[in-house]
């Protein structure tokens, strides 16, 4: 055939392509071509799905196979014009998320390049509703070969030699099945061939793709199979959920009849083969072969005992050979190419390729065809492009409801039938559902057992009752009502179902449960014992994700609802109930609540921290909740707290509120720990800090400053003085070294020390050029604080004498960070703020050598880095680029890569330390290895957030109370619930529509010019109107629990009738 040079636009228009808008794109293309009379210059081809469903709608342009992914209506004309001119539109080429690298053609795109497509590649060449298209690309060649010289044994031998195994899941050798079918019942008997396209496994859709995109290859495979086994009648059993597949298969069938490829006496060969297409009626069990036969016979799809196997006794009692769609699609390939050639792909025991549907929480989703023996890791990372966003991958579910899951640590497993079985899963029909840390494995088990409970045909009791019981138990666990003995019971039930059920559905029904129990038992235990769902999925446990994810259990949804009602004082009370550092955290919290906010899934998360700030500022302005009521009379029990940071003071606050006599010892001259020394004033004004400190003091605690552990007192001396318990919260203030030579010369400063000096108003000599190494908050805070070195509003600087010695602001401040802006751990708004203020951040840069002269810093030599593979932390590892060294002259180098606790004064005190130099505690109770001594905050975690420090203070207060009152020290875990429910704000239709499109309210901030050299707070707080508007955007997740729904129902009942009717 002479090569046609006319370019051809190929439209991927399977069900998913059409869902993504392919039909509109096709129409627009046709319209443009007709209007501009371009039909001589360009061809069109509408094909089935090309597999890369994520980037649809797409246009592929032959002969060069350029791909334009995710196109809009407006792009169509441009693409056609450019193509006719022989040009390309580079801006429309495929790009990976966050990268500027363009991939022009199909074979450049990693998702396609790393596949081996024996079956899927044909889809691009075929318009599935045109038989001549199939024939002209070599289709029906295998059929021709076979029909001109029918040799059933020859065919069976060829399939046997190719070692083809059933692609439906069980992997039975196809050649062997055909041989048995051929022998079954002698030659005179009626025999049937069935193509099983009842692809019921949720998450798998390769059969749909093949039937939609290349239906003639299935028909060809069926005729060849029919000839091999001596069947003159075939059925394609398709599930009703696949309308396009049914349509294409029906058209193909009709066309094949018209050409005499199907029917009586095919092409004068004396061979008959008739084909029927049967539409399923929605029953998962029909994928089981004996049930499928019942369904074809028009009965309820109850499976039957095997043997006799269908291959001996099937439809209406006649021998019936059942093959999967993908198996049959392989047949023409084997007959066409020959078994020897076919066998070159794959591994012994599992030859050829397998199509997987790679879906779920992965960047590139779609159909993936790879040789057997490919590892899961290759599929997930090389083809799938790894996780979506920052979330870490957890597991892959394979084999649908009969399968199991493979945890991330086993991703190096090569995929074949046997290896997956050994790992506790199965190949199944090829669904691969990727799960990340936002997927709860207990919920997944519940999902599958519930699915199977509904799909169990009910014939045998182990399956019918078993699926019901395990669903009940697992559902209880996901709702926070699990008991510790449940896990053993589940394992037992699973085993019984496996042993005693009749058909495959029942025997494998417990697999998803058993596999998750095997690999993710700790998640079950967390649900049962700690009432925690780490993926923040199980609704009855978490109530609202904001409250659940708050380390100090703030009832976020409640106070947000109160703000929406303008009931600010109540909102403030709700906040202060759980949080003595309300005003501080309203400014510096890392707000996990916002990261988990459900509004953030389809748009912007609610600005929760800014709302809290609005309420706390309102409280300050109106003098609300300024102090707390101290107890009338203390109980006389003395508790010592070492360290006056957020953790220590919180613990002291709650103990004092309970009547204990609390003394806080602070080494420094100021109280507040990191809040005073680490966080600069432009983020946390000192009067705000003072405000919260006053509130805490009002509970009645004694604070001794300038009193250090190890110098002024010891743990033993405190006990001797009659303190009944101790809480250590001395923080993590020691900056880590780089570990390179000359690190201690003059001019090199540890980050924490520099920041503390500046914040406390001490003079440091910075010189003109300052470099900062690191990318954490300390590094960025230090950089921005240095810009403001001359500012003097600090309350710690009231000492007039020091003002004279004021530090001078340097000319340049540069941060050197070894990864990119995507990995930087400092808060996004801080990094942006720093850049706006003129601080340079050199990304992908790491220090190599300090250049000193006469014991004084002169310069630093840096290396450029590039990002490599993903490391333990889930981020891509920086790798030095050889020969990229460069020297930067510096007067001051601040090393701020991380901090660790100073534990020098805790040696030989009976405490245990981790390899990171932190104090080892029981995280549930804060108890150390020494009786009566508790510890919390950064001292036990290393550098951490303020809210986590406050949380540990609260836990410690509980435990200390249990300890001193002689009770068992044990943390009570409860499911999350708000203390009260607030009625939702009523909206009109218009208001609702407005809210649906409204974005997040943003706080006004000072411009870089206005804030750069002073300590005035950068963020100015939400005005009332924006705050209430923002609060109204809340989705009120807490009302979705059973308890929440009950509240809503009651609300409805109590309303006047007219309002209900509205």
């Amino acid at each position: 055939m002479p090569e046609d040079k006319t370019p051809c636009l190929v439209f991927s228009a399977g069900t998913c392509g059409q869902a993504s808008g392919a039909n509109d794109i096709i129409r627009l293309a046709k319209r443009y071509i007709l209007e501009k009379k371009l039909h001589d210059q360009i061809h069109l081809r509408i094909t089935g799905c090309l597999g890369f469903c994520e980037i649809e709608p797409l246009i592929l342009i032959e002969p060069d196979n350029y791909i334009y992914p995710g196109i809009n209506a407006g792009d169509v004309a441009d693409i056609i014009d450019a193509t006719i001119k022989g040009e390309v539109i580079e801006e429309l080429f495929y790009r990976e998320d966050g990268s500027n690298m363009k991939y022009p053609t199909a074979k450049d795109i990693p998702f396609i390049r790393n596949q081996t497509q024996l079956l899927l590649e044909n889809n691009q060449k075929l318009d599935p509703i045109r038989i001549f298209n199939y024939i002209s690309t070599g289709g029906y060649a295998g059929f021709e070969k076979v029909i001109s010289n029918p040799d059933p044994d020859g065919i069976i031998n060829e399939i046997k030699e190719a070692e083809l195994r059933g692609r439906g899941g069980a992997g039975f050798p196809t050649g062997l099945k055909w041989e048995i079918a051929k022998k079954a019942g002698g030659n005179s008997l009626q025999k049937y061939l069935v193509c099983n396209a009842d692809e019921g496994d949720p998450g798998a859709y390769m059969d749909r793709n093949l039937l939609e995109g290349n239906p003639h290859s299935i028909i060809e495979g069926m005729i060849i199979a029919g000839i091999a086994i001596g069947a003159d009648k075939g059925f394609i059993y398709v599930r009703a959920e696949y309308p396009l597949a049914i349509k294409h298969a029906s058209i193909a069938r009709r066309q094949a009849y018209d050409l005499g490829i199907l029917g009586k006496n095919i092409l004068e060969s004396q061979i008959d083969f008739d084909l029927e297409i049967i539409r399923g009626a929605g029953a998962f069990v029909c994928g089981e072969e004996t049930a499928l036969i019942k369904s074809i016979e028009g009965e309820m799809a109850h499976p039957k005992q095997r043997p006799p196997y269908p291959v001996n006794q099937g439809i209406w009692g006649y021998p019936t050979c059942i093959n999967n769609v993908e198996t049959l699609a392989n047949v023409p390939v084997i007959i066409g190419k020959g078994a020897r050639e076919y066998k070159k792909v794959g591994i012994p025991g599992s030859r050829g390729t397998k199509i997987f549907s790679l879906v779920g929480k992965i960047k590139n989703t779609g159909l993936v065809e790879v040789p057997f023996g490919t590892t899961l890791r290759e599929i997930v990372y090389k083809i799938g492009g790894g996780p979506q966003g920052d979330a870490r991958l957890k597991a892959i579910q394979t084999g649908g409801p009969s399968g199991g899951c493979i945890p991330e640590k086993m991703f190096d497993l090569p995929i074949d039938y046997d290896s997956l079985n050994k790992a506790g899963s199965i190949m199944g029909s090829g669904g691969m559902i990727v799960m990340d840390e936002h997927t709860c494995m207990v919920d997944i088990a519940r999902y599958f057992t519930k699915f199977l409970q509904e799909e169990s045909c009910g014939k045998c009791s182990t399956c019918r009752e078993g699926t019901q019981r395990i669903t009940d138990i697992v559902t209880n666990i996901t709702q926070g009502r699990g008991k510790s003995e449940d896990l053993k019971l589940l394992e037992e039930l699973g085993q019984v179902m496996k042993d005693a059920s009749m058909c495959g559905l029942g025997q494998t029904a417990a697999n998803p449960l058993l596999a998750t129990l095997k690999y993710f038992k700790e998640e079950y235990i967390e649900h049962i014992e700690k009432k925690t769902c780490r993926a923040v999925v199980c609704k009855e446990i978490i109530s609202s994700p904001c409250q659940f994810s708050c380390p100090i259990d703030t009832e976020v949804s409640v106070y947000v609802a109160l703000i929406a009602h303008k009931r600010y004082e109540e909102a403030l009370e709700i906040i202060k109930k759980e949080n003595p550092f309300a005003s501080v955290l309203a400014r510096v919290c890392h707000h996990p609540c916002e990261s988990w906010c459900k509004a953030g899934e389809g748009g912007d998360p609610i600005a929760i921290r800014d709302l809290k700030r609005f309420v706390t500022d309102y409280g300050i302005k109106h003098k609300l909740c300024q102090t707390t009521e101290p107890v009338k009379k203390t109980n006389g029990i003395k508790i010592a707290i070492v360290g006056s940071g957020p953790s220590g003071l919180t613990c002291g606050f709650y103990l004092a509120k309970k009547g204990y006599e609390v003394t806080v010892f602070e080494k420094e001259k100021v109280i507040g720990g990191m809040l005073a020394m680490g966080i600069p004033e432009y983020r946390l004004p000192r009067e705000i800090l003072e405000y919260d400190l006053n509130y805490i003091r009002s509970a009645g605690i004694e604070i001794k400053t300038n009193t250090a552990l190890g110098k002024d007192f010891t743990i033993d001396s405190l006990f001797e003085q009659g303190y009944k318990a101790l809480f250590l919260a001395t923080g993590s203030h020691k900056s880590l070294n780089l570990g390179i030579k000359d690190e201690h010369v003059e001019g090199v400063l540890p980050g924490m020390k520099a920041l503390a000096s500046l914040n406390l108003g001490e003079k440091i000599d910075l010189g003109k050029r300052v470099g900062i190494i690191g990318g954490g908050n300390t590094a960025v805070d230090a950089a921005r604080r240095i810009l403001r070195a001359e500012a003097s509003e600090s309350v710690a600087m009231v000492d007039a004498a020091r003002r004279v010695l004021r530090t001078t602001t340097p000319e340049s401040v540069t941060i050197f960070y070894r990864r990119t802006i995507d990995e930087i751990p400092a808060y996004e708004e801080e990094v942006e703020g720093a850049q706006e203020e003129g601080i340079t951040i050199e990304f992908l840069t790491a220090p190599k050598r300090i250049i000193a002269e006469n014991g004084k810093l002169k310069a630093c030599e840096f290396l450029r880095m590039k990002l490599g593979e993903v490391d333990e932390s889930g981020r891509r590892r920086p790798i030095p680029i050889r020969g990229s060294e460069f020297i930067v002259e510096l007067d001051t180098l601040i090393v701020s890569i991380s901090e660790s606790p100073d534990i020098s004064f805790l040696q030989d005190t009976g405490l245990e330390f981790s390899k990171w130099g932190t104090v080892v505690i029981d995280p549930g109770t804060c108890l150390t290895k020494r009786e009566g001594v508790f510890a919390g905050g950064d001292l036990v975690t290393g550098p951490n957030t303020v809210v986590n420090a406050v949380a540990s203070g609260k836990i410690a207060a509980e435990s200390i109370e249990q300890y001193v009152s002689g009770k068992e020290i044990k943390r009570e875990y409860k499911i999350t619930r708000p203390s009260r429910y607030i009625e939702p704000v009523e909206f009109s239709e218009d208001q609702m529509a407005e809210l649906l499109t409204a974005g997040r309210s943003r706080m006004p901030t000072l411009s870089p010019e206005k804030r750069k050299y002073n300590l005035i707070e950068v963020c100015q707080g939400l005005p009332e109107e924006l705050a209430t508007q923002e609060a109204k955007r809340c989705l009120r997740c807490e009302l979705e629990t059973e308890e929440g729904k009950l509240f809503l129902d009651k609300l409805q009942e109590n309303k006047p009738l007219t309002e209900v009717q509205k």
């Binding site: 069900t15 998913c16 869902a19 509109d24 129409r27 046709k30 319209r31 071509i33 007709l34 209007e35 009379k37 039909h39 001589d40 069109l44 469903c53 994520e54 649809e56 209506a73 509703i129 692809e199 019921g200 949720p202 998450g203 798998a204 859709y205 749909r208 009703a240 959920e241 349509k247 058209i251 009709r254 049967i278 539409r279 399923g280 009626a281 929605g282 029953a283 998962f284 028009g298 009965e299 309820m300 799809a301 549907s357 790679l358 879906v359 779920g360 929480k361 989703t365 649908g400 669904g431 559902i433 799960m435 997944i444 999902y447 599958f448 799909e455 045909c457 459900k598 899934e601 389809g602």
Partner: protein
């Protein structure tokens, strides 16, 4: 087309049940599928008739009809919204989509609103796993659906998203000629959809007359001398040379013969000859 319960009771199921049996022989499931398509549910009387005619018990028919999820014993709504709850859609949050539909429509999955406007369903897997969560509204697949879009989807469906909009770029006029005599089939003096219509002569069931088709690609509006009952196959002729406008292929939707006309700027268009079928192919 959706009949209320009262109307149905007065209808005789005989002819329809006969028709279905004739079409599908003894394939009970296929017969039930046809009945369901016709009435939007399986009426009890139809099951009785069916059992009698097939010589099986009502229990057999009811057993099968109740076993498979596709069959419903209560009428379904005018619009059916189906949320896929397959695993891939589940891990991407489809249960929240289902909840959102329940909240907006005030009914649980599997139920139909009182006004018979909406049926709210879930499906185990629709096989569009790569673009989940997926919702199907009256056969249209919607990819990557978010909870915040549910209200919009319902409102859009109520309004009838398929209404022709002037601005719709996907709808455009074409001009056709007879493939035999190459004479234009356009009649500028008669407008359908505000565009010159395509004018042909037709015959069906011993009736002859003219037929005017909208020349908008994507519009199925016609004007005809005679009322053409739904499902009737019609023969089309060129009004100039009187040749039959018949294509070589059959309709991809219903397998009736296709009508062939040439498009003036290149290519050809084939439309289904059966009244009510929207099968068409535009080849360029």
């Amino acid at each position: 087309m959706y009949l209320s319960k009262g109307q149905i009771e007065h209808e005789s199921y005989d002819s329809i049940v006969d028709e279905c049996i004739e079409k599908h022989g003894e394939f009970l499931i296929a017969i039930l599928q046809d009945i369901q398509k016709r009435y939007n549910y399986i009426p009890e009387d139809a099951m009785r008739k069916l059992a009698k005619k097939l010589g099986i018990t009502l229990r057999d028919v009811y057993g099968v009809a109740s076993f498979y999820k596709a069959f419903s014993f209560t009428p379904k709504g005018k619009h059916v919204v189906t949320t896929c709850t397959g695993t891939a859609c589940h891990v991407r949050g489809s249960s929240k989509i289902v909840d959102a539909f329940s909240n907006e429509l005030g009914i649980k999955p599997g139920e139909t609103t009182k006004d018979l406007m909406f049926t709210h369903e879930t499906a185990a897997c629709l096989g569009c796993c790569a673009i989940g969560p997926v919702v199907v509204v009256d056969g249209d697949y919607l990819p990557k659906v978010k909870t915040t879009a549910i209200r919009k989807i319902i409102d859009g469906t109520k309004r009838g998203a398929a209404i022709l909009e002037e601005e719709d770029q996907r709808i455009f006029p074409i001009q056709v000629v007879c493939p035999q005599c190459n004479h234009s089939l356009m009649k500028p003096e008669h407008l359908v959809d505000n565009y010159p219509c395509i004018h042909v002569t037709i015959s069906f069931k011993r009736k002859h007359g003219w037929l005017r088709l909208s020349s908008l690609y994507g519009s199925f509006n016609i004007e005809s001398e005679h009322d053409i009952p739904v499902d009737t196959e019609v023969n089309f002729f060129c009004p100039h040379c009187h040749a039959e406008l018949v294509g070589s292929s059959t309709c991809p939707e219903c397998s009736a013969p296709m009508i062939l006309m040439l498009v003036t700027n290149g290519g050809n268009i084939q439309i289904c000859s059966r009244r009510g079928c929207k099968g068409h192919i535009l080849d360029i």
